[in-house]
């Protein structure tokens, strides 16, 4: 009989990943035969912190292969659904696949159940996906995500970091991941304060990423030539996920650069 495969009609799962693991396992990211992480693009610094109204997540746009720049325009921070964002550092191909799979996992649940997962539920689901990805991580293709969002029970928002074994940790102030995260975290320690208003929050994010790009060759700074700004997303309960337009981020970046130039020449 043509029509739907029997599993479509008999399945009781609301997980998209479980569905394709059964029906189309080839479509899932697969462990590779040999480690070749030296030749694959990597993606780098992502920061997230709490603001007055919710959370903010920002990431640079560079991907590298060894000492080469593989991409100037990669977007490593993406909306996971209307009320949460995900940012991923690590092997670019696996990272982008993981983002796409996670977005679909949330959408699939929402459509099957006609309800959104809670924020904690989404974070646990992501942790489970990483555990499933352990085979890849062991071969050097690790991806480490950061997840942030709001829901009705947590209107002020939550930020979660993860490790490659699927460990999940809540971050109560700010966090950074990726190769430039040490520098970004150092900057955030000095610049971040509770209750940041939108303009101040944007400027803190840009400064932290600028510090990371200053000292980490795998993190890109604001690109005034190609008009490529870091991706910056805010999540608030009232408005949901919003991307801050590139021209506004670039204007803030120009101010940061001007201020640093002034200090350096004084």
């Amino acid at each position: 009989m043509a029509g739907f495969p029997p599993a479509f009609l008999s399945s009781t799962s609301n997980s998209f990943i479980d569905l394709i693991r059964d029906l189309a396992p080839d479509a899932l990211p697969q462990p590779q035969g040999s480690p070749m992480s030296e030749q694959l693009p990597h993606a780098t610094t992502i920061v997230a912190f709490h603001t007055a109204a919710g959370v903010l997540m920002a990431g640079d746009r560079r991907a590298t292969i060894g000492n080469m720049i593989a991409s100037h325009a990669m977007e490593k921070v993406r909306p996971a659904d209307d009320y949460s964002v995900i940012g991923i550092a690590g092997t670019a191909g696996v990272a982008l696949d993981l983002i796409r799979l996670f977005q679909l996992e949330l959408e699939h649940y929402e459509k099957i159940e006609d309800a959104r997962l809670s924020l904690g539920g989404k974070a646990n689901r992501l942790a489970a996906m990483l555990r499933g990805n352990l085979g890849l991580a062991m071969q050097g293709l690790s991806v480490v995500p950061m997840f942030a969002g709001v829901d009705d029970s947590r209107p002020d928002g939550q930020i979660f970091s993860f490790d490659i074994t699927g460990g999940k940790y809540e971050e109560h102030r700010f966090h950074a991941i990726g190769s430039g995260s040490g520098f970004a975290r150092g900057a955030l320690k000095k610049l971040w304060e509770p209750g940041l208003e939108p303009d101040a929050a944007l400027s803190v994010a840009v400064e932290a990423l600028f510090d990371a790009s200053d000292d980490d060759s795998a993190t890109g700074g604001p690109d005034f030539v190609r008009k490529l700004a870091p991706t910056v997303f805010t999540v608030e309960l009232g408005t949901g996920v919003r991307e801050i337009p590139a021209d506004r981020v670039l204007a803030t970046a120009a101010e940061v650069v001007a201020e640093r130039t002034r200090k350096a020449q004084a």
């Binding site: 009989m1 739907f4 479509a27 679909l104 959408e107 699939h108």
Partner: protein, 229 residues
Amino acid sequence: MTQAPFYVSPEQLMKDRADFARKGIARGRSVVVLRYDSGILLLAENPSPTLHKIAEIYDRIGFAAVGKYNEFETLRQAGVRYADLRGYSYDRSDVTARGLTNAYAQTLAGVFTTESKPFEVELVVAELGRTAATDQLYRITYDGSVIDETEHVAIGGQADAITARLKGIVTSAKPLTEVVDLGIEALTAAGSGPLPVDDLEAAVLDREVPGHRTFRRLSDAALAELRSD
């Protein structure tokens, strides 16, 4: 069935099954799907706020059903699985109402002829085109027949009465507020009495909406604001 003691002609067998399915469907309340100038309106008579007859399948594809809840819910979930898997394997733009309709039709036809009891459901699959000219409405009946409609389509017990009432009206040229009134009027006229908004379930596929998911449920308050009477 293999050891049936008496001979039953295939005509009689099919007719009995069709009558059985039709009776089950006729007991239920109706759903009407209408195109409007910038989208598609799905409107159902449904007193339950949680057991939906209208649902989102994919970015631009909506689903409406009448009949037995457990049966169309199974079909709805299968549709979501089909669409999500297809969109993941290929691209989001490769998920089409025609492909989904074919899968529904094959499944319903298979159940109608081979299972001991046919599905007592009727479905509408609606796809919002990039332009109004490419909107698609498909009605799929319990035996897997597919009917392609142009302006509006009704399913359920009073489908014929509703279709008769809307006959000749080009809803795709009218704004949403007018089409909401037309839809409610048709449901009311075919039904038993006036329809307050909490007895209605409504959603739209909205061409104007930014982002890829165009399906949006209309709350009772939003529906009350749209209807004029």
